[in-house]
Symmetry: C2
C-alpha cells in the first residue's frame, strides 16, 4: 500500500464537515476544495459527477457510520436501556452536544433534496427500524414501538434545529436525557 496522504474516508469526512455547517447550497466547490486540501480538479477526479457526487458520498459514508455506531449497537448486547443510552452518548458526541447541525436535515432542506431522496429515506427508515426492533425486544407491542421510535428520531432532529434556532444547546441535552424514559415508557 502506498502512503495515501488523502484516504477517501478522510476526504469525505472533511466534505461532511462543510456540508453539515452551511448546507448543500452553501457549500461552494472552492470551500470544499479548501476544506479537503485538494484542488478543484482533484475533487472532480475523485467525484466525477461533481458536487452532487460529493454529497452522495457523504451520505453513504454517514449511512455506514450510523449503521456501525448506532443501528448495530441498538441490536447488540446489554439491556434495552443500556443500548438506548449507548446510542444517546454516540449522538451527543457526533452532534458535539448540539453545536453541530445534522447533515441529513441539511440535505432534506437543500434545493437539491430531490437528488438525495432515496438515500435519505433509507437512512431514516433504518434508524426507526433499529429503534423499533429494540423496543419490541424490550417487550413493547410492535405498533407502539414503531410510533415511539419514529417519535424519538423526530425529537432528535427537532432538538438540533431548535438548538440552532435558540442558540442554546440546552434543549438538545434535555431532549437526549429524557429519551430513554420516552422510549421505554
Amino acid at each position: 500500500m502506498p502512503p495515501a496522504i488523502h484516504p477517501r474516508d478522510e476526504i469525505i469526512q472533511r466534505l461532511m464537515r462543510v456540508i453539515r455547517r452551511v448546507g448543500y447550497d452553501g457549500a461552494s466547490i472552492s470551500a470544499l476544495s479548501k476544506a479537503t486540501g485538494l484542488g478543484k480538479s482533484s475533487l472532480y477526479h475523485h467525484f466525477p459527477n461533481g458536487k452532487h457526487d460529493m454529497a452522495r458520498a457523504v451520505l453513504e459514508h454517514l449511512a455506514e457510520f450510523l449503521r456501525a455506531q448506532l443501528f448495530e449497537p441498538l441490536r447488540g448486547a446489554g439491556t434495552p436501556k443500556r443500548r438506548v443510552e449507548a446510542m444517546i452518548s454516540t449522538l451527543d458526541a457526533f452532534y458535539a452536544e448540539g453545536h453541530e447541525s445534522c447533515v441529513l436535515a441539511q440535505l432534506v432542506l437543500g434545493s437539491a433534496r430531490a437528488g438525495f431522496h432515496a438515500p435519505l429515506r433509507m437512512i431514516f427508515s433504518e434508524w426507526i427500524d433499529a429503534l423499533a426492533d429494540l423496543l419490541v425486544d424490550a417487550g413493547i407491542a410492535r405498533a407502539t414501538a414503531r410510533r415511539r421510535a419514529e417519535d424519538a428520531v423526530v425529537r432528535i432532529e427537532g432538538a438540533l434545529v431548535l438548538a440552532g434556532g435558540l442558540g442554546d444547546v440546552g434543549v438538545f441535552a434535555r431532549t437526549l436525557k429524557q429519551l430513554p424514559a420516552t422510549l421505554l415508557g
Copy 2:
C-alpha cells in the same frame, strides 16, 4: 387606496414561498424576482439591503403571522385543549399537512444563519413562552410546563424534517395528533 397590485405583504409572502422551499442559499435573486413578478431593481427598491433584507422581512412577517395566528390564540379563550387544537389546525394548514418545510429551519440551517440569530431566537422563545403559559393556565407547574412546551416545538420542527426525509407526511400528521396528550398530560 390605489390599486396597489403588489402590496408589500403579498411580495413578502411570495418571497417566503421560495425561501421555505429551497432555503436562503438556494433562493437566488432572479428566482425571487420571478416569484414576486418584480424586476430586480424593484426588489432592491423595496429591500435596499438586498437578499438579507428580504429574508429579514420574511422573518418579521412570519413573526407577526405567528403572533396573530398562533401565540395570541394560545392565550385566548376556550379550554386549554381547545386552544392547543386550534394551534394544531393552524399549523397543519400552514405547513400544508407536512408538505411544506419550515422557514425557520431553513434560516437556522442556511449559511447566513448568523445574520438571523436574534429574530430566530425571538420567535422560538415566544412560541415556547406562549405554550408554557397555556400549560400553566391549565394547572401545570411552571417548570414542567416549560419543558413540555419546548418539547412540543421540538417535535413540530423534527416532524417536518422527518416528513421531508421520509417523503411521507404521515409522521407530521401523527406528531400533531398526539400533541394535545403530550402537552396536557
